[in-house]
Every structure is written in C-alpha cells, then in structure tokens.
Amino acid sequence: MSRTADVELRNVSKVFDNSVVAVDNVSLEIEQGEFFSLLGPSGCGKTTTLRMIAGFEMPTSGEISIEGRPMGETPPFRRNVNTVFQNYALFPHMTVAENVAFGLRMKRIPRDEIARRVREALQLVRLGGFEDRYPRQLSGGQQQRVALARALINRPRVLLLDEPLGALDLKLRKEMQLELKHLQMTVGITFIYVTHDQEEALTMSDRIAVMNAGRVLQVGTPLEIYERPSSRFVADFIGESNFLDGRVVDLNGQRATVVVDDRVPVPARAQDGLAIGEQVTVAIRPEKIRLRSLGTEGADGCVRGRVEEIVYIGTDTYYLVRLTDRCTVRVRVQNSQNRLDSSETIGHGEEVLLSWLPETAMVLKT
C-alpha cells in the first residue's frame, strides 16, 4: 500500500502578537489514513499546530500542505478538513440532526441526501433516535459523538481532534478511546489528535509527535516513543523513567557502561556518536528492572542498593532503592504472586541487587 503525505508541515512557526513563540520550526509529514497524535504538556504548541492546519491561525512562517496543495491563507471553510472541538462547540439552537446536517447544508446538498447521510452519520456514532434532541439534553459522551458525526458527515480528508475526550470522566474516556480508534479504522480518514494524555496517545495512535515548548522532540510509533525515547523530556513525559547521570567509561558494540556518581557502573544500550568520558544520562523504566535479594548471588552487570520505601498499588509494588548518596531508583515489580501468602518478599532496609537488560536502558546525551 503506497502511502502519501496527507498533511505536511514544513518549517512552520507561529509567533503571536505578544511575541510569544507558540510553534517553533515544526516539520511533520502525516500519512493518509494515519491516526497521528500531537502529544505534549499544556502550552507546548500542539493546539496551535492543529489550529493552523484547520486554518483558524495562519503560520508566521513555513508552509502547510493538505493533499499536496499548499494552503497559504486559505480560510477554514475552503479546507478539506473538519475539527472536533475540545468543548464540542455544538450549536445550542439546533437539534442534533440540524447540527449534524450543518456542513452539508452549507454545501447546498439536496435535502433527501442530507437526511440520508445524517441518519448514517448518527448510526455510525450509535446515536440513532436522538435526531430531535437539543445538545443541552445530551450527556457529555453523547455530545461528543454528535460533534464527531457533525465532522465526519462531510467526509473530510483529515479530521482534527482537539482533546476531544478531555471533558469526559475516566471510564467513559477509556470507552471512547477504543471507539474512536475503531471509528477511524472504519472510515479510513486521517485523524490528527491533540492530547496531553500519554496513555490516550499510546492507546490510539499509529504515530505520535511529542512536543514541548513549541518544538517537536520526537516522532515515532508508540513502541518507538516508549522504548527508545530520544530525550530526557520524552522519557519523562511518556511513562515513568529513572534518570542516572554519569560518565561513559566503556563502549562495547551495542553496550555501554556508564559510571554513576563515580562509583556505580551501570549497563546501557549504546547509541551512535557516543564517546568514552562523555557526560550522559541513563534512562531506565521502573518496570524493566529486576530486583533480587542480595543472598542470591548475581551475575555481573548487577547493581547493589538498599530498599528505602515500599509502595503496594495492587497490580504492582514500587520499591525505592538507594544506589548512592545522591541517587535513588524506582523499581516496579508486578505482583504475580499473592503477596499475603508469599514468603519470599523483600523487606524495608534490605540490601538488594538490581539488574536489567542493557538494551532497555537508554543513554541520553546531556
């Protein structure tokens, strides 16, 4: 299947009147039929990026192309994209059916076709029978689905979604995540999804662009983003990470050894361009670390530490392990045994051995 870029941003920047740089030289290629997420903390420029694709804001510099056509100053109503707004922005004076039909009315499509497509669109979002209700008579989740139907009925090339699940409660949000993903696969439209919720992005996206302070830090599949974060920010923002500052002392093919606090050597995955003696940060995720009692003799590559804190959270147990005076590591161990019965538990203050596969620890340049 040959894929073409549906939306392309080339060196796009947005500087607002008050000289705030909201988006700083962003380049992205979003492929046809892709579920693409812009992920970042609030104020990172993800919504501004989306609004520029929609045409509500014009880039200060750079070029946005949709379906290969440069958009320039094209107003929103001449772009083949539709938006699902954060607060849904349903028209309060119109019924559900009138809301959904709005886009087709503007295009002067015959009445009977509008009626048929409204019915289809509402069926698609499982809201058949709600045609004559007003938005205020619907729950948040239902309003959300009306907003989706109202956008999708226009059969846009690209659907833009601005934190569409932000106002829903957790359980409904999880349901809607799967439903959205399913819907996207059904209609085959490119989705560009803005969110600050990393779990949401990981669950639904084909690819994610992680943004911070107006810049795109990393673009990749959820797997790549999670397993191979390229910067400390990404490693920290998506999931949890331990960060160990140290110096490279040994390089051996795929494997690097970094000495933390001049005392503790830790293994990590080497990356290109790394030099011995370089100051780096090793990022290691809590669930990648194995924890054993000191008694069981370990192989080389193990790190010694002392358990300082134990937090039981049901599915897992967190251990806070001190390696050196300045350095602690969080370890997440899945509770595969019943901890009430298990005799072999690690206790508070106990000396332990930590180990991990070197390729699970990322070396990040500082």
Partner: protein, 305 residues
C-alpha cells in the same frame, strides 16, 4: 420525651426587639414576600394603575363646551380616531419608530459586537462612551441637534463654505431630523442589551461553523444572529416603544410639521383641551405598543436558545 427535647434545644440568645422582628419575618414567608414586593406594588398601584384607570374612564367621557370633562358615556372618542387625519398620524408614528429601530439595530449591532470583542480594558471605555450622552439633559442635547441642522447651522455652513452646496439644505423640521433625534436618543437602549447578548455568545461556535464550510455571512445569519436574538428583541422593544410615543423630539426637531401620536395626545390635553379624546388616543397608543410587542416576541423571541 417532650421534656427531654425541650432540655436539649439550646435556649435562644437574649433577643432585643429588632432581632425578634427579623426572626419573625424570616419564619413567615408571606410576610417576607409582601415586604419585598410591597413598596414596588404600592408604587405601581398608586402612580400607574389608578391614573391608568382614570384615563380609561375619561376616554369614555365627553368634552364640555369649555373643555371640561362631562360624564356622558360614549364610544365617540374611539370612533373619531378612525378619521384619515388621525390614522395618518398613527401610520407616521409607527413608520418613524420602525425606521428608528432598524437604524439603531444596524448601527448598534456592529458597535456592540466590537465592544464584546475588544480587550477588557477597552470595553469599559466604550461602555462609558455609550453612557456619556446621559450626563447631559435630553432637551439640551436636542437643542444642540437643532443648532447643527438649522439652515444657518453648522452642517449647512460647513457645506457652503466647502462649496458643495449653494443653497442651504433643509434638514430641520423634517422626518429625517426626527428620526435622527430619536436614533441619537435611543441608541444606547439598543446597544446595551445587544452587548449583553453578544458578550455571552460563545465564539468557538463561529469557528465550528467556519470549519463546517460556512462563510462569514452564513456564520452570522445561521449561528450568531439566532443566538443573539434575545438581545435584538430586547433592544428593539426598548427603542420602538419610546420612539412610537415620543413627543419632545418630534415637537422640537419636527417643528409641528411632523406630528406623531405623542404630539396628538399632548395637543388634545394642553391645547385643544379635549381630555376624553386625548385619553382615547393614549389607549390606542397603548394597544399599538402591546400588539406590536407581542407580535415581535412571536416572531423573534420564541426561538429556543
């Protein structure tokens, strides 16, 4: 049991007369209600309903030879109104009031829109700008307009000095002058309710409509106007009602050449001394206002928002 309860309730603090009175009022909702509504109701009864009843009674009475009211009941005052002479006055009044309302709406909507959209610190400045005319007496302001519009007034002098015209353009004592005066006087009553409506309007709906393919005109007619209709209705009513019954403005700026219902009533009471006919015309005016307001609500106000 009853005794135990009495022991448990804390004894009330030593109350003086005032706090006991307040307590008593609080406990009786009927008393509270009449205290809240009483003054207003009293005012309306004495200064509105009773005089209205007197006028209604007069409208069925007859005029004596010397202008006194004679209690010979008749419908003549009402039938007399259907003379073309008076129907014309009625039509002119409604026409002028409608024109005033539409012009106020056309000027007021963009102004209110801008007022609702500019940064907050500018809003108050614009709001003050709308209010400033109220700081000066209405009569003084109307005389000022006369000075502007006169044949030797500022506008004509300026136009002549610029060589645009040779003979002065007659502006004073025309329908134009009356409408100008009314628009000037009642524009704030249009702007303020419009502003209140537009300020509440959610502007992301504009983006939503644009996103769905609506151009600027469609955004306005399909989304913005329907959702700000309460302000349009309120403003229009607030302008139309005083305009249709105006008498100072047509008197001064119309100079007796533009006669509105208000002038007719004034003449009947003060000049002609035919109080019964004046009363009847007053009631006709009330009926016009009532009917047109209700019709307007039917058209514009019933949209569900």
């Amino acid at each position: 049991m009853a005794l135990a309860e009495r022991v448990e309730t804390p004894s009330p603090p030593p109350a003086n007369l005032a706090t006991r009175l307040v307590d008593w009022v609080r406990r009786r909702s009927g008393v509270k209600l009449s205290l809240v509504l009483g003054p207003g109701a009293f005012w309306l009864l004495v200064f509105f309903l009773i005089p209205l009843g007197v006028v209604l009674a007069y409208s069925f009475a007859s005029r004596g030879a010397y202008g006194q009211v004679i209690w010979r009941l008749t419908l003549e005052n009402y039938t007399r109104f259907f003379d073309w002479l008076y129907i014309r006055v009625f039509l002119v009044s409604v026409w002028i009031a409608l024109l005033t309302t539409v012009i106020c709406l056309v000027i007021g909507y963009p102004f209110a829109f801008v007022m609702a959209r500019v940064p907050r610190r500018w809003r108050n400045a614009l709001l003050v700008l709308v209010m400033v005319p109220f700081w000066t007496n209405f009569l003084v302001r109307t005389y000022a307009i006369m000075l502007l519009l006169r044949n030797e007034g500022l506008i004509n002098s300026a136009l002549r000095w610029l060589g645009i015209i040779e003979q002065p353009v007659t502006m004073l004592f025309t329908t134009f002058a009356v409408v100008l005066g009314l628009v000037y006087g009642y524009l704030p009553f249009m702007i303020l309710p419009l502003y209140a409506s537009i300020e509440k309007f959610d502007f992301t709906l504009v983006e939503a409509a644009q996103d769905l393919g609506a151009n600027t005109w469609q955004v306005f007619t399909r989304v913005m106007l329907p959702l700000t209709m309460p302000g349009v209705v309120a403003g229009s009513i607030l302008v139309f009602i005083p305009s249709v019954g105006a008498f100072v403005t047509p008197d001064l700026l119309g100079g007796g050449k533009v006669v509105m219902i208000g002038n007719l009533i004034q003449q009947q009471f003060l000049t002609v001394r035919h109080w019964p006919f004046g009363s009847a015309v007053s009631f006709v005016l009330m009926a016009i206002v009532l009917i047109s307001t209700m019709a307007y609500f039917r058209v514009g106000g019933e949209r569900r928002v």
